[in-house]
Amino acid sequence: MTEDSIVPLGSLRPGDRAWVLSLAADGAEEARLLDLGFTPGSAVECVFGSPMGDPIAYRVRGALVALRRAQSEKIMVTRRVQQPHRGG
């Protein structure tokens, strides 16, 4: 597995995969992201964007979850190029 530097989730393009490193959100927003499985160490994949480019749908723990750019900018990730052992 090769890794890039640390980038916000919002900078991924459809098809890109990454690991979650940290969340910069707080309060109810952080709580909801944690509930949905955006915890540090989780695998995410950028799947597709909406017609106007925002929000964007991500695959996390098997589920498809749409986040606005304002949220996805608060999730720091590190890119992964190859499939990890567990699959997407």
Binding site: A28, E30, G37, P40, V47, G49, S50, P55, R61, A66
Partner: protein, 658 residues
Amino acid sequence: MTVQRPPALFSRRKRLEPGCTGCQVRLAPLGIDAAGCDFVIALAGNPNTGKSTLFNSLTGLKQHVGNWPGKTVARASGAFELRGKRYKVVDLPGTYSVLWAARAEEEIARSFLLQARPDCTVIVVDSTLLERNLSLVFQVLELTDRAVVCLNLVDEARRKGLVIDHQVLADELGVPVVPTVARTGEGIQDLLEVVAAVAAGGLETHPRRLGLLPGTSAEKRREAAQLIYREAQALAARVVRTGVPAADDWGERIDRVVTSKIWGFPIMLAGLAAIFWLTIVGANYPSQLLAAFLFGVERLGSSLFQALGAPGWLTGFVWHGTYRGLAWVVSVMLPPMAIFFPLFTILENLGFLPRVAFNLDRLFQRVGTQGKQALTMAMGFGCNAAGVVSCRIIDSPRDKLIAILTNTFVPCNGRYPTLIMLGTIFVAASFPPAYASLAAAASVVAAVLVGIAATLLVSWGLSRTVLRGEPSSFVLELPPYRRPNVKQILYTSFVDRTLLVLERAVLMAAPAGALIWLLSNLSWEGRSLALWASELLDPLGRAVGLDGAILLAYGVAIPANEIVVPTMLMIYTGAGMLADVSSLAQLRAVLVDQHGWTLLTALCLMLFSVLHNPCSTTIWTIYKETGSKRWAAVGALLPLSLALAATFLVAQAARLLT
């Protein structure tokens, strides 16, 4: 990794006598009647796990729908019997977490588990998303000893090539695990047996506990979430075997089209247009049948009264006033609702509506709200009161309030007949016959667009003035496309939406019918009160391009938009009761030749109809949903002043130009 198994947070309670008076005592404060029940069963789960489908297949038609006390969160409870024992089933709100109670629905689920202490909690799990769903399973197991995991949607998992070893899962969790397909009934009998055994204490459970403490700081919560998901991931990795999918994952391919730049909007518009077309065309004939029947009853009733020698005023008041108002509203309102609501629910269950919210979110972001508002607007096309209730899907309190206050700008079913009539008589008439019907349809579409523009404009205004605040967060799960359960939808949309709306409308329409009858039948100095009142309102009416009779009709027909035009015709013709005319030509004669309507009158009336005050059922619903008289007043007066201002400007501008 070692997992601590701390002692149960709550000691197992003593079993009360059969017939369970304890159930009644514990459930009564929650507004649930558990009389005669032996056991209480709770259903918990993430949203989109098929929990409602399971609830319906367990309880059948024996269910009671309402709200949780003091909350605008829907509550459904029902009951079933198994071998002589009665089980009360309570459907908890779908939640992603239950330990921290950050949201109303989480608070409800949590306090139900702690206070009502169900004899068995069924945790419904989407088998295709085991890892994510296990997060809630672990949390529920912190709060209760007696639980069963219902591994639902296993058919979908099989299609995806996922095989779940439910024995190992049960061993690891310490509670029974039953694979099911709630939609087809597969595994339901097994589930019932296991639930019965756990509820009766015959099957011991030793839930695995992670030692999470509820209600702690953000830091602790962060750690807890990490711990939960680490466990969930490890457990899912142990029990889920990923094989070769039996079929392609066509869902993602559909998504790429439905959310694409080119097709996204056309597909959404086509879907919405199809619903309207089916509703309007499909409701036509049933409406006529229903009207023929209900007005037949009126004739029968009034001749019965006459035969019995009842005074004329009593017959008039009861049959031509109260009953006629009610019959009119029911015959115009019921068929479109009975068609619109199930169609809408089918799109909802199909998974299409979350995609609509996804596609439109950016547009609504610009006016300071979010994509789910589009769904509440779409619901408003059926009925604004139902649209206001549907605003519950919006998490952010601010966005929800804006959506509630602006819902009335989308014209409901009750307003379409007026718009179509005006478009046909006035707008179409100004075009060559070949284009007439096209022009009529275009004018109705234009009216709808004006309503949508008003929604966006007022939302923008509200979010930048009185409701200024942080931009809301928007996190939306896009569930997989699923085949809707049509039978269940027909039932639930009829009971939950159609009957409820109809009941409220009937409660409002009958008194309105009575009042309207009195207005046109009580007279002073030889003229009816209706005539006096419409003359009084005439100057104001003229200033906004309408007339006194129209304003009076809007005033007294506030309980239901369906009777605005009949009331207007009653005033114009002095009929003494809600009136209809048999043909468009006749209608044209009354409006144009006798009462001087012009294209300007029609335009102003279309504008007024789209922007004007919501019906009293909607105002009442705004009050119930916001819990505030102030917001209900804003919800009523804001559209009214906007409608008066807009029609005034149009009327004055038109008069200046001609």
